[in-house]
């Protein structure tokens, strides 16, 4: 069999039928884009997810499960079971093995965004991604107790700029009836987008949080016991308790030792977790969902491949004449069958090429929007080996699918007589 001839005939035949085949190729291209896109996003989202926090060796909070502690400290989802006493924090501070600590105090909100009370250690030690520090796009970190720094998403949604005055609400939730409106805060800075929950958070000083809660000990403001800003400044604003502590070790090898000691701390029940371990456990839970999604897309690709085979089968009727001519000129049934195989594989390769192009263009075009609107950081990168394997599987599957029309053509042309009007 003459492969070069078969190949050139297949190319000419595809070009001849380009109008019909363009549609099936488009379908196939879209489904491959979907498959590849989901596989790509899986990796990217996992990357983005696991890089929500980095360089932090331990997260310490009140005694609870590691997922719960991770969720409320890092992702700002759910609530703390209990607080840590300020004395405990001071105690831990004295431990020479601990290099740094970032206190975190949760509980209030600003229009549905979590308010994170922290100290000047936060910008110094908190890291995400590959050790990146949260950077300010405008303004400066808070230096006054009534100053606030907004995550990029918070500022974008509510169109805030530095200098704006905002009122925090007591407790979580989008609409709160108890607002700290007697003590408004001034926006001192806005953070650059990070693609992490930091974008959704509002950062204030621990002292600021303490100040707005004077007179709120019972959960609501008691008239006459609240204070003005000037009065608050004169008070001792050392908090009685905080929610959690992020910490880094001087020598990482001591992490487990410190973790064990914190978990057995005699002053109060505490939990210390390794963020990396907790993140991968969380991802294992969520991974089931994205696996199901990937499975569905595989079926979408298979469906479009079957559609391609169906179109090739339909076209077969129109091609009797052409097959008869080729056979009369001495082409073997194998050559006729190979025409179908080659055409199908070429179509799938074209679809794969287009899918790569469209996918890359979509990611390049949408990634700024995704980061802005959804806080998901997707970057364009070369495909990894799994993704190449996924895309290579498509022509192989097309080859298998093409065997259906190919076998039919092979059988048919063996039985067919010289003329295209089959005497049977």
């Amino acid at each position: 069999m003459n492969l070069r001839l078969t190949f050139s005939l297949a190319m000419a035949s595809l070009w001849h039928r380009r109008n019909v085949l363009a549609l099936v190729t488009l379908t196939l291209m879209l489904s491959i884009t979907l498959l590849l896109g989901i596989q790509y996003l899986r990796t990217e989202v996992k990357q983005s997810f696991t890089s929500t926090i980095s360089d932090t060796d331990l997260i310490v909070g009140a005694r609870s499960g590691q997922l719960n502690l991770l969720m409320y400290t890092v992702f700002h989802i759910g609530n703390a079971t209990n607080n840590i006493r300020w004395r405990t924090y001071q105690d831990l501070k004295d431990d020479s093995r601990i290099g740094w600590m970032v206190p975190i105090s949760l509980g209030d909100s600003y229009r549905g965004h979590r308010v994170v009370g922290t100290s000047e250690q936060f910008p110094e030690f908190f890291r995400y991604g590959q050790g990146q520090a949260p950077e300010l796009s405008t303004g400066a970190w808070f230096s006054d107790i009534f100053e606030v720094v907004l995550g990029s998403e918070v500022a974008r949604t509510h169109r805030h700029a530095t200098g704006d005055r905002i009122t925090l609400s007591h407790g979580g939730g989008r609409t709160s009836f108890s607002n700290h409106d007697d003590l408004p805060f001034t926006v001192s800075g806005v953070l650059a987008p990070t693609g992490t929950p930091v974008d959704q958070a509002v950062y204030v000083s621990l002292e600021g949080l303490e100040a707005i809660h004077i007179g709120w000990e019972s959960g609501v403001a008691i008239p006459g016991r609240t204070v003005s800003a000037e009065q608050a400044r004169k008070r001792d604003l050392t908090p009685a308790a905080i929610t959690a502590v992020l910490m880094g070790m001087d020598r990482q090898i001591q992490t487990f030792q410190v973790q064990r000691e914190i978990n057995q701390y005699s002053g109060e029940p505490l939990s210390a977790i390794l963020p990396g371990v907790a993140l991968s456990e969380l991802w294992r839970l969520m991974g089931q969902f994205e696996k199901a999604l990937l499975g569905i897309t595989v079926f979408v690709v298979i469906t479009s491949l079957i559609g391609l085979a169906a179109v090739l089968l339909t076209l077969q009727v129109q091609r009797r004449q052409e097959v008869a001519i080729l056979r009369a000129a001495g082409a073997s049934p194998l050559l006729i069958a190979m025409l179908y195989v080659i055409e199908c594989v070429i179509l799938s390769l074209v679809a794969c090429g287009l899918a790569l192009f469209v996918g890359a263009a979509a990611i390049a075009g949408l990634s700024p929007w995704l980061l802005d609107t959804w806080g998901v950081q997707i970057t364009l990168r070369p495909l990894n080996s799994t993704e190449w394997l996924v895309i290579a599987a498509v022509p192989v599957a097309a080859l298998l699918v093409s065997l259906i029309p190919a076998l039919r053509a092979w059988q048919g042309s063996r039985k067919q007589g010289l003329s295209h009007a089959n005497p049977q």
Binding site: N2, A12, G330, Q416, L418
Partner: protein, 237 residues
Amino acid sequence: MTSMTDSSADGSPLARKTLETGNLTFHWDKQQAPLAYPDIDLPVGEHLFLQGPSGSGKSTLMSLIGGLILPSAGTLRVLDADLSTLSGGQRDRFRAEHMGVIFQQFNLVPYLNPLDNVLLPCRLSPKRRSRAQPSPEEQAKSLLNALGIADEHWRRPVTRLSVGQQQRVAAARALIGTPELILADEPTSALDTDNRDRFIELLLQLAAKQQSSVVFVSHDQSLAGRFDHRIALEATR
């Protein structure tokens, strides 16, 4: 390739007969009465006119000679080769090397231009290619010229050609590479009288020039006068 299938073009022994059959029968399925054919004896370079009503098995005989199907009984020798002893692949190659075929209509591969359609046998068979002198392209062009296809049509889509032009392109394809046998299955039935006469004239003239035999099937008795041999098939029903 067996030696007896070789032809004079490359110095092998000359075939004595283009076509030789004896008690040839064929049936498509067991229920039907077999088609029985009169014995044929066609010397090299001579032409045969096969006439018969529809259903008399003309096209089936062409398929048998072309080696696409095998006889149920009897002998069939084409260019001294017994086709029933050859495998399917060997018969395909034999057909590519020694035969040109013209159908009633729709003779051209729709996605190849007229020139590429003519060159198709040369691409399928190295032997046909080597016999197309001085080169396949040159011979294709001179055949197209001889058959009255102007060179502005050579690279146009075949669908733009008239039926008469299409049949003449098909004749050029059958003639390229000087095959010993040309099978023409009612090639003129879609043509008007003028076109038909001109077509047969050109076909026989060009075939004679390169010593090819033509087996011409038609139900049109008026064409029979131009052929050396005539066989009439009878309806089986």
